[in-house]
C-alpha cells in the first residue's frame, strides 16, 4: 500500500435548479484519490447502482463503506430508511465531476459530495495478523503502542493488532509492520465526517 498525501482537489456544489459552480485548487502531484460521501435511501440494489456508475467508466474503487444513517437533516427519517456510503476512488478532475453528477442522478441517491481536500475527520480500522516470534514481540508491541493500536489476539506464533487512525497514518503503521511478516490484513475502509455545519 503506497504512502500518499491527500492532494488538494476540486470542490463542487450542486443545487437543484441551478447550474453547477466549481471552485478548485489543484496540485498536480500524482493521480489523486478522491473520497465521496453519499447519503442514499436504503433500498435493495442501491449499492449495485452506485457501483455501476464507476464500473461503467472503467474506474476501480479503492474502498467502499456502507452503513445505516441515524439522522438526516430536514426529513422525518425512519430508522433504516437512509444509509451513508463513503467511497474512495482514483480519477482525474473531469471524470470525478461526471461521476458525482451521475451519482446524484440516481433516484435513490439523496446527495453525493466530494470531500477531497477538505478538512474532514476521517477514520479507518485495520486488523493485522503478524508473525510474532519471541524475538520480535517487544518491537511489535512498541510500534503498536506508538500508534495506539491494541492487541486483539495473542497466539504462540502470531498476534493480531487492531489500529484505528486516519488512512495515511494507517498506511505508515502497516508499512512498519511489513518486515515482521504480515499473514493477513483486513481494512475497514475509510469513513469520514465533515466538520461543524457542513453536511457529510
Amino acid at each position: 500500500m503506497a504512502l500518499n498525501t491527500e492532494p488538494r482537489g476540486a470542490q463542487f456544489e450542486l443545487d437543484p435548479g441551478k447550474a453547477p459552480r466549481r471552485r478548485e485548487i489543484v496540485d498536480i502531484a500524482k493521480p489523486p484519490l478522491h473520497t465521496i460521501s453519499l447519503l442514499v435511501r436504503n433500498k435493495p440494489g442501491v449499492l449495485v447502482r452506485v457501483s455501476l456508475v464507476f464500473s461503467r467508466r472503467g474506474y476501480n474503487l479503492e474502498s467502499l463503506v456502507v452503513s445505516p444513517a441515524l439522522s438526516v437533516e430536514g426529513t422525518n427519517a425512519t430508522p433504516g430508511e437512509f444509509s451513508r456510503m463513503t467511497i474512495t476512488c482514483s480519477g482525474d478532475r473531469d471524470a470525478l465531476e461526471q461521476i458525482i453528477k451521475q451519482l446524484e442522478k440516481l433516484i435513490d441517491v439523496v446527495h453525493a459530495i466530494d470531500h477531497t481536500g477538505q478538512p474532514v475527520i476521517e477514520s479507518e480500522v485495520a486488523l493485522v495478523k503478524l508473525r510474532a516470534g519471541i524475538g520480535d514481540r517487544t518491537e511489535i508491541l512498541q510500534i503498536a503502542e506508538s500508534f495506539k493500536a491494541t492487541v486483539s489476539d495473542f497466539g504462540v506464533d502470531s498476534v493480531i493488532l487492531r489500529c484505528a487512525a486516519g488512512t495515511a497514518k494507517l498506511d505508515v503503521f502497516i508499512k512498519l509492520l511489513m518486515p515482521f511478516g504480515v499473514i493477513e490484513l483486513v481494512r475497514s475502509g475509510k469513513i469520514l465526517m465533515a466538520r461543524g455545519a457542513q453536511a457529510t
Binding site: A19, K101, K105, I107, V110
Partner: protein, 570 residues
Amino acid sequence: MLTKATSGGDIVIQCLEREGVEVVYGYSGGAAMPIFDALVDSKIKFVLVRHEQGATHMADGYARASGKPGVVLVTSGPGATNCVTGLLTALMDSVPMIVLTGQTITSMLGKDAFQEADVTGITYPVVKHSYLVKNADDIPRIMREAFHIATTGRPGPVLIDLPKDITQGPCSAPLVETVDLPGYHVPGRPDPALLHKTAGLMAKSRKPVLYVGHGAVIADAGKAILELATKLNAPIVNTLLGKGACAEDHPLNLGMLGMHGTAYANRAVEHCDLIVAIGARWDDRITGKLSEFCPDAVKIHIDIDVAEFNKVVRPDVSLAADARLAIEELVPLVDALDTADWLKEIAGWRKQYPLRYPKKGGLRAQHVLDRLDQLGGRDCIITTDVGQHQMWAAQFCLTTKHRHWISSGGAGTMGFGFPAAIGAAMATGTPVWAIVGDGGFQMTLCELATAKLQKVPVKILIINNSYLGMIRQWQELFFDNRISGADLEGNPDFIKLAAAYDIPGRRVTRAGDVDKAINWAMAYNDGPCLIEAEVVKDDNVFPMIPAGAPLSGMIVEKPKTKMEKPSGST
C-alpha cells in the same frame, strides 16, 4: 355472484387506469398471468404483439407521438430479457415508458426457477429506475413513483418486476396521489441571473446558431424557439431527434446538422461565434472531433438534466431548466442581432452545397423520399428504422409538425421503425409512414400480424438495396471496399410476405412509378400497406463527416483518394 378479493394484479391495473393509460402492449406468460387476468375486466386495450421487442418499440412510438408514457406488460425470464433492447432505445432517447415484467414467486427468487431471470440486475444500466416488488401493499406507491419518474425531468423507462405471488395474492393498500422521493430533483424555471448572462452573451454575437435537440420536442418549446430565432435573426439547426420542434421549412431552419447533416448546417456551426444548445447533448454525431469543435464560439447549454453539463463540452453558461420555460423567459431579454452578413453567408453555402442526388442510373432512395415529402409526407407521421435510409429520410423528408418524426437516435436500434409506427398510429390516429431498410424490417416484421389486426394506417416503405447499406458505405470508403457482413442475400419477396399477412403491397423499380405508388398508399387507410422500393445497391449518403473528424473534414461526394480509417467511435 362471487366477488373476487382484490389481488395485486387488480391493483396494478387499477393504478394504470388511474394514470390514464389506454393501451398496453405485451406478450403473456406464466409469471404474469394474474395481471393478464385482471386485464380482462379493464377498459384498457391490450395489444398482443408477436415479440416482446416489438411491444417495447410500439410503446416507444406511442410515447414519442403522444407525449404520454408507453406501457409494456411481459412475462418473466426470456419475456423480460427480450425487452432489454427496447429499454436501451428508450433510455438513450429519453422516452417515457413503463415496463411491467412478471417474475417467479418470491420464495424462488435466486433459485433458478423456471423462466426466472434477475431482471432488475440485468436492466440496471438500461433503465432510468426500476423496482422489484416484494410486498403487494407497495404496489400503489411504486406505480405512482414509477409514472412520476418516467414522465418528469428527463423522461426515461422505468421497469417494475412483479413476482407472481405478489400479483396473485391480496392487496388492500389504497391508491396514492403523492410521491416522496428525496433523491429526485427536477429543475423547472431557469435562474434569472444566468438568463441575463445568456442574453448579455447573445447581444455580442454576430454569427449565432440555435442548436435544437430532442429536449425541445419533449418540452414543446418549438414555438418559443422560433420566436427567439426570429427576434434574434438567428438560424436554427436541429439534431436527428430535434426534427419537428421547429418547422423545417421555415427560412431560418437549416435542417439537420451532424455526421450526415446538410452541408450548410454544418458550415454554419463550424463558423458560428455563439451556439445555443436547447435540449441537446453535443452527441459525437454532431460534434465530430471535440478538440476542434467550435473552439472560439461562446457555448450556451440549456438542459433539464444537470449531468449533461460539462460532460462533452464546457459551456460558458449552463442553464438547468425546462427548455420551453427557459426560452420563453429569454425572449423578452434579447434584441435583434446584426446578422445580415451571416445569413447571407449561410445562403451562399445553401446554394453551393444543396442536398442532391443523381437523377439517372436507377431508382434512388433519395428520389422516393423526396417525392414522399412533396406528396403529403409532411402531414403524416414518419418513423424510420436505422441506416442509410434513415439519414436520407432525415435529409429529404422535412418535418414541419411537432412529434411528426420518430427515429432511434442514441441507440440506433434496427427493427425500431415498423413497430414504432404502429404505436404512433394508435396514439394519434394520424397516418404513419414507416421508412425502413430491408435489413431492419426483417428484425421485427412479425408485427405485420399486429398491424393488420389493429387496422393501423401504417404505410411501410421498404428501401431495399439488398445490403446493410451504411456498413457497406463505410467499408467502401474506409476499408478498401472489402465487404464483410453487409450483403443481405436471401431477402424474401416482401410483397409476397405482406400478402401472407393479407396486407396489400406494391413494388416500385423505376423512378416514374414512384408517385403512383405513394398516392395509392396515401389513399389506403383501412389498415397497413407496404411499398417495396428496389433502389440502387451501392449508393452513399452525403454529406458525411467521418467519425472523429472535425466539422471541416466534411465530404460532399466520394473522394478520389483513399481515406483514413475513422478515429471516432462507430
